[in-house]
Subunit: 253 residues, 2 copies
């Protein structure tokens, strides 16, 4: 009945290979009794004797968070597994929503979020330093917020000359998201604004496409793409026989 | 003369203890011949036989980046060490600025940035999930950009209802930065907007202060503080005998 010995750790694997995992996250994954998460994330982890796995579909975040809290309340040591960083468009917010709206006893549980390498930071590192100035991160998913809010945020981000990272640029339900977003951004930013599509960063099929706002081929954008829109100070460094580096000047004049 | 065997890796240690370090970053630090960085970051790393250290002052980023590129061009395996994530208000942008304005041969070097856990992500994890919605990161340092730009970005971020992470909220040269920033934000946001000061996250002296915009004690903000300003959907979960969790609702109505 008592949850005092249970524990829930919310862990992010980073966007791709095991090299992104932090020491704390590795230790938490090793000591957990139950691993809960979206199936492809769990599939990245080695099987371990005596460890239970509960793989779920991607679109049931709140249910998955409740199940994790329920098991921790039963005294289990649970790791809830996200990709990237669990606090950036991933599972951590769902856990606290489940806690606030769930059993009062859940607030007394030992719950900890461990930070990880978000897709945005991993993509930026691969490119050079595109987030070298002020930046913002916007999810284009309108499952939980009105498209009007997304429009306003894109406009504000463009007006503020932020570097912009776009998460969830495509979905089966609404493939036109990225077209709508680029229409808004194109009305607010110069056509030569640098644009990067970072696909499947850290995985074997990784692909980086560099273009400008006027000429970007939006058909390249899929669900595994992180889109970065440069600011005025975002530049290319051409290199002999290699992809250019992309970085943003620290200095703003 | 040839730099073909040299290599420069730009590494972030995360904001505090060794638990934030990724596997790739640890391997890069172990295999480097030369470690270059701000002295307190190098002091966190174990001494290793045959490894050279070059500790420098905090305010000479560009010189430090040039020295790292120069050594890599001489054929050395160099690790340039940052706190947090090297791409977020840290050393990576300085490296590419040094490359673009330096020796043409530097563009042919093997240069790689490894992502890390930024102070913003670590602070957010400690709090719960305050970055659960769209968010932006703004440095309040006006060493390299006019204060007018900072003002405009704060106004745009507030108008867009972004969660806002403020880096470099104080400096010896300009202790009033955070006062000026809060004056701008207070004119644009409701007085009950949640505010968090996350000080020295991941270190023994870590301190978390939760307040609201109208009542925050700005004298608490020092150079090691990461400031988070909530959005409309940012909330507290009160807990028995513990600091409340802070999270941002995924749903925007």
């Amino acid at each position: 009945m008592s949850g005092r010995s249970g524990r829930l750790v919310v862990v992010g694997l980073g966007p791709g290979g095991p090299g992104y995992l932090t020491e704390d996250s590795r230790a938490a994954l090793e000591s957990a009794q139950d691993l809960i998460g979206y199936a492809p994330y769990l599939a990245r982890l080695p099987e371990r004797e005596g460890q239970t796995r509960l793989a779920s579909d991607n679109r049931v975040e709140l249910e998955r968070a409740r199940e994790a809290l329920r098991r921790a309340a039963e005294g289990r040591r649970v790791a809830l597994v996200s990709g990237g960083d669990p606090g950036v468009f991933a599972m951590a917010a769902a856990v606290f929503e489940a806690m606030e709206t769930g059993e009062p006893a859940w607030r007394g549980l030992d719950v900890e979020v461990l930070p990880g390498v978000s897709a945005m930071l991993a993509a930026a590192a691969r490119l050079g330093a595109p987030l070298g100035g002020d930046f913002c991160a916007i999810s284009l998913s309108d499952n939980l917020k009105p498209w009007d809010t997304i429009t306003r945020r894109l406009e504000c981000a463009a007006r503020g000359d932020f570097v912009i990272a776009l998460y969830n640029p495509a979905s089966r339900a609404r493939p036109s998201r990225i077209l709508d977003a680029f229409a808004i951004l194109s009305a607010a930013l110069p056509p030569e604004t640098l644009v990067v599509f970072a696909k499947s960063v850290g995985r074997a099929e990784e692909q980086i496409i560099i273009a400008d706002l006027a000429n970007a081929d939006l058909s390249q954008v899929d669900m595994a793409t992180l889109v970065i829109i440069g600011a005025k100070g975002t530049r290319l460094i051409e290199r002999p026989g290699a992809r250019p580096f992309v970085y943003t000047l620290r200095r703003v004049s």
